[in-house]
Subunit: 163 residues, 4 copies
C-alpha cells in the first residue's frame, strides 16, 4: 500500500529538553521513524510540514496543510497533529478535499516518554487504511477510527471519546 | 465497538527471566493490558486461552481455539499468537468458522523488550476492525492487514511480507 | 549497610501529566523505588520529606531537612534533590551537621523519561558510601562524587562539572 | 578521574535477536555507551576485550584479561563481566595483580531490556572509585561494593549477596 504521512508536530513528537526542563516539539521525525521502521509492507512518503504545538497552528498553517494534501499523488494520507486543534484542521481539510482517505492522529503522551499510546493511535490509522474504506476525513485515537465529526477530545479526562 | 481478544501466548508476551536468563511466555496479560489501557473506545472481552510458544501449539490446542471462537458472542475477534505457526492456526480456523471477522497478530520482538512492533501489529488489527470489512480470517503484521492466505513469514528476514 | 534516603522531589521524580501536558513532581517514590528494588544488600530507610521543584524550596524547607537529618539514627544519608538549588541545601546542611556522611543527588532527566542518568547519579552515591569515606557533605552527579564545594551546575550545558 | 573500562561481554550487554528469538552478546558497546554518555566528569578509556557469555570464558581468556589490565596505564579499572564466572576471573586477577583498584560488575538483566539494574551496578563501581579506596579486587553488584571474597551469586534467587 502506498501512503503519505504528513507530520505537523504535536505531543506525539515531543522530546524532553534537559537544559530547559520543558518538552519541545522537535523538527526531526524520530518518534514516527521508530514506528515506520517496522512497517515492511508499506510504501511510505514522509513529509515534515510543521513542527508545532497544535495550539500554535494558524489558519495559514492549515492552508499550507490543505495545499500539501492537494499536491499528494497518494490517496491514502495520515496526518500527525497535536490534539488540541486536531478538529479545526480536520474541518478545514473537509471543506477543501473530498477525493482522498485522510486520517488525523496524534497522542496525549509523547512517544519519547511512553511508546504505547502514540504507536497505537498511528497504527490504528494504518490498519484502517488496509480496509476498503470510503474517501473521507477520519480521526484515529484511543481504539477508534471514525469520521472526525463523531469523536471529540475530553480535556478533563485526556481522552478522545466517540460521540 | 465490541471485541474479543484471545491470548494464546507467543513472543508478543515474552518476558525475561533473570534467574534462567531465558525469555518465558508468562501466564499473565501484562503486555496486552498495557495497550488495552488506552483503548478507551472499545468494549473488550479478554480471554487467556494458552500461554505457549507457537512451536508448542498442538492440534488439540487449535481445536480448543476453534471452540473458544465458536463460543464467542462477539463477531470481532483478535488472536495474539506466536509467529511460527500463526498460519497453521489461521488455516484451522478457516476450515471451521466463516461468520466472524478474525484477525491473528503477534510480534517478532516481545512487548517487554520494545513496545513499538507489538503495539503496532495489535493496533493494526483494531484499526482494521473499525472499518466495514467482510467476515474472514486475516493476519495483521508489519503494516499489513490482509487475508491469511496473502501474507507469509520470511524466517531469514524476520518479517511478515505480503505475497 | 544501613542508609537513610530522603526524597525532597526535583526532576529525578518528575512524571508526565497527560491532562496538562506538563511534568509534575509526584508525591510518590516510584522512580526511587525502581532502583531500590535491586539493592538487595542495603538496609534502607526511605523518607518522603518534600515533593517540590527545587526552585520552590524555601528556607523553612531547608530547616525541616536539617532537622530530619539530625533525627536520623543512620550516619549514611542520600538526599534526592532538584538540581537548581542543590547547592543552597548543601550549604545549609554543612552549617548545621558535621557528624554524618551526606550525599545530595538528583537528575537533569526524569527517571520516568530515561532511566540511565537518574539511576547513575543515585548509584554513584551508593557506591561512594560503600567506601571508607569521611564525614562530610557531598554531591554525586555525572560520574563524580566530591565535596559540594568542588562541583557546580553549568546551566547552559545542563551538566554538573567538577571545579 | 581517569579510568579504564574493559568490556568482556555478559548479560549486561545482551540484545534480543528477532530472527533467532535468542539474546546474543553483541560485539558493540551500546549498553555501556549509554551510561558513559552522561559521565561528564570522567576521562574514560574503553576497551572491548571479549564479547562472551561468561560460561564461555576460558582460562586463555582470563590470561588475556590479566595482560590487558597489566598493560593499562590507569590504576582505576572497571570490568564488565558475565555473572556466572565473575568470581573465577576475580580470583585469577587477584593472583597476578596487586597494584590497582579493580572492580568487576555486570548485570542479571540486560541493559537493553531494563536499564535500572545494569546502570546501578556499573555506577556503584564509579562511585566507589571516587572514594579513597585501597588497591584490591572488588565486585560491585546490587547495592554493594566489597572485596570479591565477600560476595557471592545466589543462583536460585538471581542475586549477589554479601557473605
Amino acid at each position: 500500500m502506498k501512503l503519505t504521512v504528513i507530520n505537523t508536530g504535536g505531543t506525539f513528537n515531543k522530546v524532553y529538553n534537559p537544559i530547559s526542563g520543558e518538552l519541545d516539539v522537535p523538527t526531526h521525525n524520530l518518534a514516527l521513524q521508530k514506528i515506520l521502521d517496522v512497517t515492511y509492507n508499506l510504501d511510505i512518503e514522509l513529509i515534515t510540514l510543521l513542527s508545532k504545538d497544535s495550539l500554535d497552528i494558524t489558519e495559514n498553517d492549515r492552508q499550507t496543510l490543505v495545499q500539501c494534501i492537494q499536491n499528494c499523488s497518494n490517496e491514502n494520507i495520515v496526518i500527525i497533529h497535536g490534539t488540541d486543534t486536531m478538529h479545526l484542521s480536520a474541518e478545514c481539510i473537509a471543506q477543501h478535499i473530498g477525493n482522498k482517505k485522510i486520517i488525523l492522529t496524534g497522542a496525549m503522551i509523547p512517544m519519547s516518554i511512553d511508546e504505547t499510546e502514540a504507536t497505537m493511535n498511528f497504527s490504528l490509522a494504518l490498519g484502517f487504511l488496509n480496509a476498503p474504506i470510503q474517501n473521507g476525513i477520519y480521526i484515529a485515537m484511543h481504539g477508534a477510527v471514525v469520521s472526525y465529526k463523531n469523536i471529540a477530545k475530553n480535556k478533563e479526562q485526556g481522552k478522545f471519546l466517540v460521540q
